[in-house]
Subunit: 265 residues, 2 copies
């Protein structure tokens, strides 16, 4: 099992180009996870910018095509190096063509306590009382669930026995299975790691991500992350979802905003 | 007064390049509004793509530098033309250099009723009972308030008399002053048209946008828009804000997610 660090290891090719091997562990039902691809863009941006801009702050990806597992190339264009922030554009392509286009603004995260927090963390049962999501789901395989341990609040899991709550909300604990602690780049993947919140609306099936933007707010403390994924609006074959991530101290460390296709009645 | 249509009129220069005159009416305290610049990127993307992809679906901008009022150029790169969606990258630059980099995914909005709506519209007093925001604010000028009529719920306006509620929420009615009805491109501007929600936290001063992503969900019906802007987290000199926009029928038509700098204690 590769682990997140290995799955996002880049080899510099010069002129802002980086080689990567897209990791089969980060697949969901035969497709590479959109958050993993956003994290690769973040890793490439930070590598190209160097130590002056150590963290991703805002990362936005638009998805053109689902890449196959295996070799791919990332190209980073530095758009601006400012005093406090730097902006990059990152393209991910395989030999089949361009797959992801991303914008990544980087800078330094601030560890001081928040001035205002308008997004309180959800109350969850103890981690041991939350069942871990399996790799083998009915009708499809989710290799991602082997590298990311996701234990969901049973109150948001009734869709798994055919009784979706209709609230469109999933929440639970998330850790890397190999014990690695998540860094700010990992948060770019975690905001897209839960199953679609539409499962809790009785809408099953693949949810292809069109756009994903992540705001990173702090370096997470060690320990399990608490993740809540909510559907905001399902309409016209598309859904927007909001994913909030807190660290083990209850601090909001990242938020993801996703726009995806979905099949509903 | 130019109006939104005139302020976003582009002149094609060929090869995906468009000339525009950045309109002084869309300034806030001497800076052009970030939503206006996102709307320009959306207009350029749609113009380049043509009739097969008539609406913006997801638009994400990262801001490099504040452009001056006057001539600017937009360059559109079509990344992909698919069956249902097309993706573009749009750069806005002036003679001083690059200012905005945006990704815009376009397609066709679907007028059918939502399948699930998890974001109910706020209850507001009648429009006539909501005071219109003035162009002349204490210490600065907001020309934007002449072209966009913003009438805020008095319950979210106590910050204007030095009594912020501490909730970090503004809400009210928004119309174009010239009577023009907003189209989907206008929504890209409207999600950044309200004052910063941080005013309601007692945090005053300029809030420079670093990133703005807009999900467009429907073509708005004629009539006033209802807009709610909320601060989610203020921490480390940065804020993320969420802006929801409903049309006069109560339908959620757009959501904006913004990441901005802010000065707080």
């Amino acid at each position: 099992m590769a682990g997140f660090g290995a799955a996002t290891t880049l080899a510099a090719l010069g002129n802002g180009r980086y080689a990567v091997s897209l990791d089969p562990d980060w697949q969901v039902a035969g497709r590479l996870n959109g958050g993993y691809l956003l994290a690769l863009a973040g890793r490439a941006a930070l590598t190209e910018l160097g130590d002056a801009f150590p963290h991703p702050l805002v990362a936005s990806a638009h998805y053109l095509a689902a890449p196959e597992v295996g070799p791919a190339e990332l190209t980073v264009h530095v758009l601006r190096r400012g005093r406090r922030t730097a902006q990059t554009r990152v393209s991910l392509a395989t030999t089949a063509g361009p797959c992801v286009e991303a914008l990544v603004t980087c800078g330094q995260l601030d560890p001081t306590e928040p001035f205002f927090d308008g997004v309180p963390a959800p109350q969850l049962p103890p981690e041991d009382d939350c069942p871990r999501l399996p790799v083998e789901a009915p009708g499809f395989t989710v290799p991602l669930m082997a590298v990311v341990a996701e234990r969901l609040d049973p109150a948001t899991m009734a869709w798994a026995i055919g009784q979706p709550s209709g609230r469109g909300e999933l929440r639970g604990y998330v850790r890397f299975d190999d014990g690695q602690e998540p860094d700010p780049v990992a948060l770019l993947a975690i905001v897209d790691a839960l199953p679609p919140a539409t499962f809790d609306l009785g809408v099953t099936g693949w949810v292809p991500t069109l756009g994903l933007t992540c705001h990173v707010r702090a370096t997470p403390a060690p320990g399990p992350l608490v993740v809540r994924q909510r559907a905001r609006l399902v309409s016209g074959g598309r859904v927007d979802e909001e994913c909030d991530v807190w660290d083990a101290t209850g601090r909001l460390v990242a938020t993801g905003h996703q726009f995806a296709g979905v099949r509903h009645q």
